[in-house]
Amino acid sequence: MEFAFTGRPPLLQEVTLQVEAGDFILITGPSGSGKSTFLRILARFLTHTAGSVLFHGQPIEDHEAPQYRRRVAYLHQTPVVVDDTVRHNLLLPFSFKANQHRMVPSDDFLVKTLDTFLLDGLALDHPAKSLSGGQMQRLCLMRSVLLEPEIMLLDEPISALDHESRQAVEVVMETLCRNRRIAALAVSHQPLRVNCASRVFELKGARLARREPFLPHHSETREVSTGNA
């Protein structure tokens, strides 16, 4: 897969990657190397200029965008919440047409899930905008996970957080990866202490290079794959 902004040299060239269920893939690289652009292509906020991006063997363009994005969740570098309660933020996606067939989680379920995301003790009526950066990040992670995505695209998930919040987010990411078999693709210019990171890549000079040998820990092969058509 390749990508270039109009009139500029290619930002991504011959990028080939296959993501499998339960994978935790970390992409590092200097600032401006195209890490976030890569994630935004997978989230379909940008369109690759050559090659192909496949999801379950089909070009991503062939999938209905709202359904696709529910299954391939994208999280911004800065957590984004609406100016309302924690409950409203968590239930917001259930008001969208693409998610209306899904059962709306009860308050009991939400409170239990908040514990999993190390947000125990947080009241559902608490205003979301008053949370700390780390709490907001975990709330956003939880909001996406409630929709049971298959892949999560995490753009610099810890870069804006203090040390303590970083650790909490890392623990949550590891739990998701281990227990829920959600594939995660994270880009970060800082090392992530997530023990289940199955592959680490570096994006440099528009190309993606593997940094560590691949350590297979399962046999399912599916989800997103990118390559040259």
């Binding site: 989230a43 379909r44 906020f45 363009e61 359904q67 911004h76 693409a98 909001r143």
Partner: protein, 267 residues
């Protein structure tokens, strides 16, 4: 209490130039360098309005529906160009939907007012259709400009929130629902506000014109009420159509926002 209109003679018209002489004197005294603009403005006022007067006399006497609608189409095209010049958005082509929404909403409102409310005979009668249509176009074009300005600026400033909602399965309509509402409100509020102040804060231009022309104030009040209501109607319809059509153009096939993240794009 209808009285015949007092005509303004050529000599009286020239006398009114004294006001310009006063302004030129002030400009010279305080070195405002506005003399050239003042003289040019005066010249254009005379020229443009007399040309318009002769043109209207011709149109009123000719009474041809094709001519009336052609003039109306030209007025709307000019208004759409003015809006285009004001917005200056490069990423999305909004001129065709702007022109379309103006044509539809203004034509419907003007035809309803002349045909149903005033019941002029025929409904396209130039004496009614042209000035009323002109008022609709002139006043409502500002609403379209305000609507588009708000739409483009909010889509940009709320990009993160939009993308957050899109990431959670929203389609572009659901993700931009608040922006849609705010854009429509921005277009409609000035005409609603003018309904609040009319008759207290200001005497509207049309009513003033009719009273000066010798009409009974109670008759001109009725006309003015119709004008105020039709302006609210035309701004509502045109703001709605333009927001629906232009918002769609701001998003791509994958419902992704096509406006590049620039903050100072709107003049």
């Amino acid at each position: 209490m209808s009285q015949s209109i007092v005509p303004i003679s050529d000599a009286q018209l020239v006398l009114a130039l004294l006001f310009i002489a006063l302004a030129v004197a002030a400009s010279l005294l305080y070195r405002l360098r506005l003399e050239r603009d003042l003289l040019l403005g005066t010249l254009r006022t005379f020229l443009q309005l007399f040309v318009m007067g002769y043109a209207l006399t011709f149109i009123f006497n000719f009474r041809n529906p094709l001519l009336v609608f052609s003039i109306y189409a030209v007025m709307i095209s000019f208004a759409a160009w003015i809006v285009r010049d004001r917005i200056k958005e490069k990423a999305v082509s909004y001129f065709p939907p702007t022109l379309f929404s103006m044509l539809v909403s203004y034509s419907v409102v003007t035809a309803l007012v002349t045909g149903v409310v005033i019941r002029s005979d025929p409904w396209w009668s130039p004496q009614y259709f042209i000035p009323i249509g002109g008022m609709v176009v002139g006043n409502s074009m500002n609403a379209i400009a305000l609507t588009l300005e708000r739409l483009f600026s909010e889509l940009r400033t709320r990009r993160d929130e939009l993308e957050m909602k899109l990431s959670l399965g929203a389609d572009y309509r659901e993700a931009s629902q608040d922006t849609f509402r705010n854009a429509m409100k921005a277009g409609m509020i000035p005409s609603i506000n003018s309904m609040m102040g009319v008759g207290i804060v200001f005497i509207p231009g049309m009513m003033t014109g009719q009273i000066l022309a010798g009409a009974d104030p109670l008759v001109s009040v009725r006309y003015q009420i119709v004008v105020m209501l039709m302006l609210v109607g035309s701004t509502a319809i045109s703001s709605f159509i333009v927001t629906v059509l232009v918002r769609r153009r701001c998003f791509g096939r994958a419902h992704e926002l096509l406006l590049p993240p620039r903050s100072k794009n709107i003049s």
